[in-house]
């Protein structure tokens, strides 16, 4: 089973090919195989698989990737709509950052 696909055409992922140095870090960190490197350099090959985790943009040394990262978690969105808990998903109280978290199916 490959990556499951959620809603299409919603991901906020953007790549600035001008800045990209082709280091390949984003290929390593992306958990959904969104990027591919080919003859023309780095490409977004599977945008719909992006879960907006933000791993690629945080680890891009050239600052070539932008994504509005956040938690794809309905409870968090409801909480933030109700002004509760700063929009926390499920991992305990807010820690000050405005980033939130979601759980992983993986035990690690």
């Amino acid at each position: 089973m490959g990556s499951m696909i959620y809603l299409k055409d919603v991901a906020t992922l953007a790549l600035d090919s001008q800045k990209c140095t082709g280091c390949g870090m984003c290929l390593d960190v992306c958990p959904h195989g969104v990027f591919k490197m080919n003859g023309q350099g780095l490409q977004i090959a599977d945008r719909n698989a992006c879960m907006e985790c933000g791993a690629c943009s945080r680890n891009c040394p050239a600052g070539a990737i932008s994504v509005q990262s956040g938690v794809g978690c309905a409870a968090a969105v409801i909480n933030s709509m109700l002004g509760r808990n700063g929009g926390e998903c499920c991992c305990g109280p807010q820690t000050g950052q405005n980033q939130t978290a979601k759980s992983g199916g993986c035990c690690c």
Binding site: V71, G72, C73, G105
Partner: protein
């Protein structure tokens, strides 16, 4: 290198300053202990001995989990005692590592820690545990507690630089949203390599010169992973379920045609059964059948399960659709059950490993108003069906 087994008999007596417990979805120990900063302590039940190093005596752990470790995992899965399911942050020795042994980084959620060491039978390695407040890597990275600052701080505080000669470390790939590898290098001198997503691939990754195959880098969401999240989903829904059940029982008792008790048994108990069916559909069947359910949006998946469940239930009850009261009752449950199932299914986005925030927001914009409307409408229709029987 001397060894002792002092930690072994400390089993069970290990105490942790606990703040509070909070229910959550499957993401691991919530706000766990505010671990003191004294570093990895020898006085923890899973520590099997100690190793003297240039950075002092470090706790030794084994790749074999004890029965106590496994029992703790089971309890955590069911939301019991999750608050003290943390290990002290700091440096641990797995086996008999030397100054050239690899350094692996993880969170101080006990399950993350156990998962890592269990994946490395017969290996010698250093395990650097970051203080993520007892939360797993994935969640903590999203929060930023599994982050660049904590990693850089923990490298210094643990004396890692004195313990190993090389300047490489292996980070879990799922920690990448919290850590900027290039900054870690700049701030600490350590080059951070992202290991595979699943701990069981780490031996292959290490043997392969810190290279992961494409499969090792992809997060999946297989049946087993979905199934273990069910207890926590159910737990999260338990309280609203109980309150709603109580309300329906009372309503059925008061509004029914006959005496309070007869009504309660006839309509009230069935209402609770129907509620449970909705809960079962949304929080159990949806996670299990996720890839095979129609639609991409989770609420659509839950809706389809809810409709099927509701129809099955109506047939089982053998409602008399010849009479108006019966028809109205069927309509009520066809509204209520799918609405609840869809809502619960939508909540499972929080536990899934592939839903994006933009997607969830889009889904909620259409699904949430519909779910609320259908739920309230269904409730009113159900009350009407009770009153209709008066005639």
């Amino acid at each position: 290198m001397e060894e002792n087994t002092k930690g072994l008999d400390a089993g069970g007596k290990f105490e942790f300053p606990i703040i509070q417990e909070q229910a959550g979805c499957g993401c691991g120990g919530d706000n766990a202990a505010d671990a003191d900063d004294s570093g990895s302590s020898l006085d923890q039940p899973f520590v099997s001995g100690s190793l003297s190093t240039p950075a002092g005596l470090l706790p030794k752990v084994s790749s074999r989990l004890t029965r106590q470790d496994r029992w703790g995992t089971i309890k955590a899965r069911f939301g019991v005692g999750r608050m003290n399911y943390a290990v002290h942050p700091g440096l641990y020795a797995l086996g008999e590592p030397d100054e050239n042994a690899p350094v692996l980084v993880t969170a101080n959620y006990k399950m993350s820690f156990d998962c890592l060491r269990q994946a490395l039978p017969g290996r010698n390695a250093w395990i650097l545990v970051l203080d993520t407040k007892g939360i797993n890597v994935w969640c903590a990275a999203g929060k930023g507690t599994f982050g660049t600052n904590e990693l850089v701080y923990r490298i210094e505080a643990s004396g890692l630089k004195k313990v190993v000669r090389h300047r490489k470390m292996v980070l879990p790939q799922l920690g990448a949203p919290g850590i900027a590898a290039h900054q870690v290098k700049k701030l600490s001198g350590f080059k951070a390599h992202y290991g595979p997503v699943r701990a069981r691939d780490i031996p292959a990754y290490l043997d392969n010169g810190l290279r992961a195959s494409r499969e090792m880098r992809i997060v999946t969401f297989p049946l087993a992973d979905r199934a273990v999240l069910i207890p926590i989903e159910l737990l999260g829904a338990a309280k609203p379920f109980a309150l709603l059940s109580l309300a329906l029982l009372v309503l059925a008792g008061i509004l029914g045609r006959s005496g309070f008790q007869t009504n309660l048994l006839h309509d009230g108990v069935f209402a609770v059964v129907a509620l449970f069916a909705a809960l079962f559909g949304g929080a159990v069947l949806t996670p299990l059948l996720l890839p095979w359910l129609p639609g991409r949006a989770f609420s659509v998946k839950g809706l389809s399960i809810g409709l099927v469940t509701a129809l099955a239930l109506m047939m089982a009850r053998g409602v008399d659709v010849g009479a108006w009261a019966g028809r109205v009752e069927v309509l009520a449950w066809l509204l209520i059950i799918p609405a609840i199932a869809a809502y619960l299914a939508m909540n499972f986005t929080g536990a899934s490993t592939y839903t994006s925030l933009s997607g969830v927001k889009k889904e909620m914009r259409f699904a949430l108003p519909l779910e609320i409307t259908a739920g309230i409408l269904g409730l009113m229709v159900w009350i009407t069906s009770l009153i209709l029987r008066w005639e």
